[in-house]
């Protein structure tokens, strides 16, 4: 059933990574991505990988969950790996057959790229696994708030995100209900050509749109009744505070970042 799909990847917990300020998490994730891309030798990358591993262990996210988020990326990792393996012609050849040849440089580049992508996925998944979507939205709004000065509607965008998150479960439930109702009237959504199946969606999509508009209208009214008048003069109940965990995380990341730079220069 559609209802069973869990929305977002948030995995609630109380680890130090969970407790960090979401703004700090976003900034440090960005720093981490830069770290992965500036390291241009395998030693630098290993420092990045060590950083990923340590953070992952601290977060206490189950290994199984992490595999799940890597699974969809696996074909890409394999594809780029093979590409690097067979089409890098420089370096000492190990093996040659027709146009294909595998060189030592090809192997090291393939491994290098694979490790980089895996670290990238694990690192960014850690952000979404340890931060609730609401906290993320909140943090993005605050980080982007300087952009309000150049007339970017930061508050409006964040509000839209919040409402979307709120209504996803409601709409999923509704879709489920409409599907059951149309099935009860003999709608057939499982057999027939692609064209026929696409047409079979009309009895589901039309009511869904109609009801979404109705919901939007009612919600807008309810928001107005609760004094909503845009982002101007708005305060927030929850204040984000940088705490000791965040300062520690900054230092921790800085040390690893420095390690990467040093290794880049030395080797």
């Amino acid at each position: 059933m559609i209802k069973d799909i869990t929305i977002g990847q948030y995995f609630p917990g109380k680890s130090p990574v969970h407790r960090m300020d979401p703004r700090a998490k976003i900034l440090l994730t960005a720093a981490f991505i830069v770290m992965l891309f500036v390291s241009h030798n395998i030693w630098g990358l290993l420092v990045g990988a060590a950083f990923t591993l340590v953070t992952f262990l601290i977060s206490r996210i189950p290994l199984k969950l992490m595999f799940k988020s890597l699974k969809p990326i696996l074909p890409i990792i394999i594809f780029t790996g093979l590409l690097n393996l067979f089409f890098i012609k420089t370096g000492e050849p190990y093996f040659k057959w027709k146009i294909f040849q595998v060189t030592d440089e090809g192997v090291s580049t393939a491994v290098f790229m694979a490790v980089r992508i895996i670290c990238l996925i694990i690192g960014s998944s850690l952000l979404t696994y340890t931060t609730s979507p609401i906290d993320l939205t909140d943090a993005i709004e605050r980080l982007l708030s300087p952009l309000k000065k150049i007339k970017v509607p930061v508050h409006e965008l964040a509000m839209m995100m919040t409402i979307a998150l709120r209504f996803i479960p409601t709409l999923i439930e509704e879709t489920d209900k409409i599907m059951s109702a149309q099935k009860a009237r003999g709608a057939d959504m499982e057999t027939g050509s692609l064209m026929k199946r696409a047409k079979a969606l009309i009895p589901i999509l039309v009511p869904l749109f109609v009801s979404s508009f109705r919901r939007a209208e009612e919600l807008a009214l309810a928001m107005e009744c609760r004094c909503y008048h845009g982002g101007e003069g708005r305060t927030r109940m929850k204040q984000l505070h940088l705490s000791a965990v965040d300062f520690f995380a900054f230092i921790f990341t800085a040390v690893f970042f420095a390690g990467v730079i040093v290794l880049n220069i030395l080797l």
Binding site: P133, I134, T162, I163, L165, R166, P169, T170, E173, R214, R215, E218, L219, L221, A222, M223, E224, C225, R226, C227, Y228, H229, G233, R234, T235, R236, M237, K238, Q239
Partner: protein
């Protein structure tokens, strides 16, 4: 007592611009109504009688076409005072799903206060108070979509009372709930009225709910037909039926018995008094 909500010769129409020429539907036709501070008023009427439209005139969602609507002496057509009006008169709607903005209970409850620019520490305090009042404090960190209908509706009420309004308008708040949810909501509404002195305007189709109010107003085709204490209203069984409305079963019973020649009081609207009257008759 002071008048809190006041309508004077109120007219309101909806204009459907999609039609050519635009079609105008008159919904309210000269409504005069005066609701006092601390009153609990139930509004009855069939769907389309204009009762929701009237309620929306009292928090400046609808601006009267003719006549005036006042909230605590403020003219609702005064745009400068819009937020003042909405802080004084909160509104709860029928569908609990479509009035909850945030994913988490306490975040939703804070929404109005955040809009009003209340300082964070005070928001926290008021949100906690409001959730305790409706008995949802233990659920403050729960996701809204996992609650029952009655619980969602109580969260919606908490979001309104966090504004500390003097009056709450409820537009069929129990229509989509099961009997248990209906009882939860009615208990909350009555408590707010009796213990906190909040003025309550309850639009409902359930006669048993209306019987619990201090005063019942019946609207028909945009005009006020009946206005009085529940005992005075519900005993007009035939008039109410003609208006497409019901009466509580106990009132109907006494009415039918009287018609059959039994000497029984005609102003019975509650179970206990009905049982007592029947007991006197049958003992």
């Amino acid at each position: 007592m002071d008048s809190f909500l006041k309508a004077e010769g109120l007219w309101f129409s909806y204009i459907n611009e999609a039609e050519d020429p635009p079609v105008k539907t008159e919904v309210l036709k000269g409504v005069d109504l005066d609701i006092k501070k601390g009153e609990f008023v139930a509004i009855l009427g069939y769907n389309g009688s204009g009762k929701s439209t009237l309620a929306k005139c009292f928090n400046a969602i609808n601006i009267p076409e003719k006549g005036k609507a006042y909230v605590d002496g403020i003219d609702t057509s005064d745009e400068e005072r819009l937020l003042d009006i909405r802080q004084r008169v909160g509104m709860v709607f029928q569908n609990p799903d479509n009035q909850i903005v945030a994913t988490i209970v306490e975040e939703d409850c804070a929404f109005a206060l955040e809009n009003m620019g209340v300082p964070p520490a005070e928001i926290r305090q008021r949100v906690d108070d409001a959730l305790k009042t409706v008995g949802m404090y233990d659920y403050r960190e729960h996701a809204v979509h996992k609650l029952s209908g009655g619980q969602k509706q109580r969260v919606a009420i908490a979001g309104i009372i966090a504004m500390r309004p003097e009056c709450i308008l409820l537009d069929e708040p129990t229509a989509m709930l099961d009997p248990a949810g209906r009882r939860e909501v009615m208990k909350t509404i009555k408590m707010l009225n009796r213990e906190q002195g909040v003025t309550i305007v309850l639009i409902t189709h359930y006669m048993e709910e209306a019987a619990q109010a201090d005063r019942v107003v019946v609207i028909d085709s945009g005009e006020i037909m009946l206005d009085g204490a529940p005992k005075q209203i519900f005993t007009q069984v035939q008039t109410l039926r003609n208006l497409g409305l019901d009466v509580p079963q106990v009132t109907e019973l006494c009415y039918e018995l009287k018609k059959a020649g039994v000497d029984i009081a005609q102003d019975i609207i509650g179970e206990e008094e009905c049982a007592k009257a029947l007991f006197e008759l049958l003992k």
